[in-house]
Symmetry: C2
Subunit: 434 residues, 2 copies
Amino acid sequence: MTDSPLQFELHTTDGRARRGKVTVPHGSFNTPAFMPVGTRATVKGLMPRDLRETGSEICLSNTYHLNISPGPKIVKKMGGLHHFMGWDAPILTDSGGYQVFSLPKAKLDEEGVTFKFEQKGGKKITLTPEKSMQIQEDLGADIIMAFDVCVPHPCEYQDAREAVYRTIRWLERCKEAHSRKDQALFGIIQGSTYADLRALSTQLTREIDLPGYAIGGLSVGEGHELMMSSIDQTEPGMIKEKPRYLMGVGYPEDIVEAVARGIDMFDCVIPSRYARSGVAFTRRGRFRVTNARYRSDKFPLDTNCNCYCCRNFSRAYLNHLINTNEILGSALMTLHNVTFYQDMMRAIRMAIEEGSFEKFRQAFLDEYLSDDKKEELGFDDLDGRYDQEDFGWDVKHSVVPPTDIAENLEKTEPVDEVAGPRRRIEKIKNLGDD
Amino acid sequence: MTDSPLQFELHTTDGRARRGKVTVPHGSFNTPAFMPVGTRATVKGLMPRDLRETGSEICLSNTYHLNISPGPKIVKKMGGLHHFMGWDAPILTDSGGYQVFSLPKAKLDEEGVTFKFEQKGGKKITLTPEKSMQIQEDLGADIIMAFDVCVPHPCEYQDAREAVYRTIRWLERCKEAHSRKDQALFGIIQGSTYADLRALSTQLTREIDLPGYAIGGLSVGEGHELMMSSIDQTEPGMIKEKPRYLMGVGYPEDIVEAVARGIDMFDCVIPSRYARSGVAFTRRGRFRVTNARYRSDKFPLDTNCNCYCCRNFSRAYLNHLINTNEILGSALMTLHNVTFYQDMMRAIRMAIEEGSFEKFRQAFLDEYLSDDKKEELGFDDLDGRYDQEDFGWDVKHSVVPPTDIAENLEKTEPVDEVAGPRRRIEKIKNLGDD
């Protein structure tokens, strides 16, 4: 153990995939890890105890939004972000850079970014590396992010190159400005989708000694293929002994594929944002529960999910709640979707431990992706590549198709050997019809 | 035990106040009881397990709204309202009468009420006693309400008199149409604020044998005084051996005063609706947590409340959540407010059991009401009327004033002898200031 605010244990690898554990002042989390996003010091709709129940071991909060409300001084006065939001496990805050760069009238120079707060009566603010560090110190997260230059996609080579160098200069300023010894500062690698700039940025960033490093500037509309090739250009140059965080990613297929390329940490708003619009993630892909076909569907979102939502409520109930804008609909759907993501991460970790990650990956994608999506992503021959008996993700257990269930109720036979789900399915099938 | 779907045990009385227990097919609830309102098969923002945690033993749902979405046939197909909404304890549904009478273009005749559903593409619907019974049978609540004629306030004598008679004719049709043996049908007494009509309606209604009776047509803008005098004109004529339900009431002071007049059951949207706009109920009255003075207030909504919200979150956090329209703000505030109501009901029941209800009533109102409100309701000399040592409601425990706490933090000393709250107060006071 060192004085470092972050320890990373790399337990095992399976191909390029890594299984490890990160320890920070507020506890540990297993990697590969998914961090749900609690923008304004709350994962929308979930009480901290609900969030814990999803299997989440760390969550993320946003510097830009917390700077608007309630303001870092208030969070500090309230005993810091953990105490304020009632989440006593690890927290990561972003630097605010991603948000301010996406503002339409943000003005960038070497000092920082100047923009107007929409909410604060149009108050003009300059966010700099030093200012971002100050805010993040007041918030008090375990892991904080450097203030970097995010370029859009697509981006001219010259602009991307300038951003790489400025990001490095700003990283040095961040490191200099950061004084709290109980927070781990991560550097961010940029370079857009240019292979040589990615390699350059990786090299320059790793030369600055930090407890962890992130890949930034992806998940900005470049698509799955470019995202993966950018990871391929970046990750191999990163330090093996430190955690690697792919920022803002993503869909389940993105996460599985990035784990296969050596990534340890992920965050994304997708499970919670999709939840609020009624989109459920399941082992057989995602579906929109607000669709009319689910109006009287007695089955849970995912029969093999053990979350509170799936144990207690039907698609019909969620269809009703989301369609009538009931708060509970957002809360229950979020609880399920985040649980789905965490179940997936647990299965990923188990597969890596067992040395069967490659098979898991094929089987997961085969079950999860639609045929169209398989073709689009180049996974058209997944079937022959794995043996169902061979890994932890319960493909056989998804006895309930996500669609057509109401119509095909009598045709669906449980093939599951686990007593719990089977009993539940029997009970559901015996509900009174009219 | 009889074949009746409802048994009422009257355990003890204290003055006119009554302490009892109602048993229906899905369980028992203690009276006096407060029923939180779950309009569309959800108490907004609360998972059923959260609702249970508030101490709620029964909840209410609305026929009119459930008839719009998801529709009674779907609820029936889903195994009934209990299974649909995941609430396995008693449920009461209203008849839809109150809602349809408040629609601007509702047309009333002897058959029923004809109106247009706003949501269902303006579809024209006639709601009749028979139709209301059919819908409520499909929904499957333990207690269902007769379809009655609700008159507005103020109301001409002649109109109120006609409504009394029509309500009786409709009650007979409801009883005739109602066939499920596992649901208890309650009759509703009308009569507006006319003493002789209240007496008449009470007499006519009790002549029809039913498991319980309700006082309707109040809480429609008549004010506290007229509400209480109307109860005084109604309740004494009601059958002693059956539960008495005062519909749609109300504020804590209304409930305490109605309990003193012999009422057993209450429902109201106030705790949950006020919660969503940031108004908290506490032992020292209610306050608006969105007020700027609470922006950095470290104390919970009510220091002596043991709900999940008060155990974990500050007024500052709730101020932030409600001001930024975060769903969690509504959920946490609702959890607290409903808990406050249920704690009050528990204290009421204990006081009746101990024969100290009159002292509880004075002490509660003295602590809860503002001076203005005391004067308005005629409670200006409460101080001399009770001894603080003498009853169950912990007046001494409210060590934290609901206002000015941030400014007076150092001046507030805990006088509470209970270890839990004292430790919590010490911990809060030791939070870092800037």
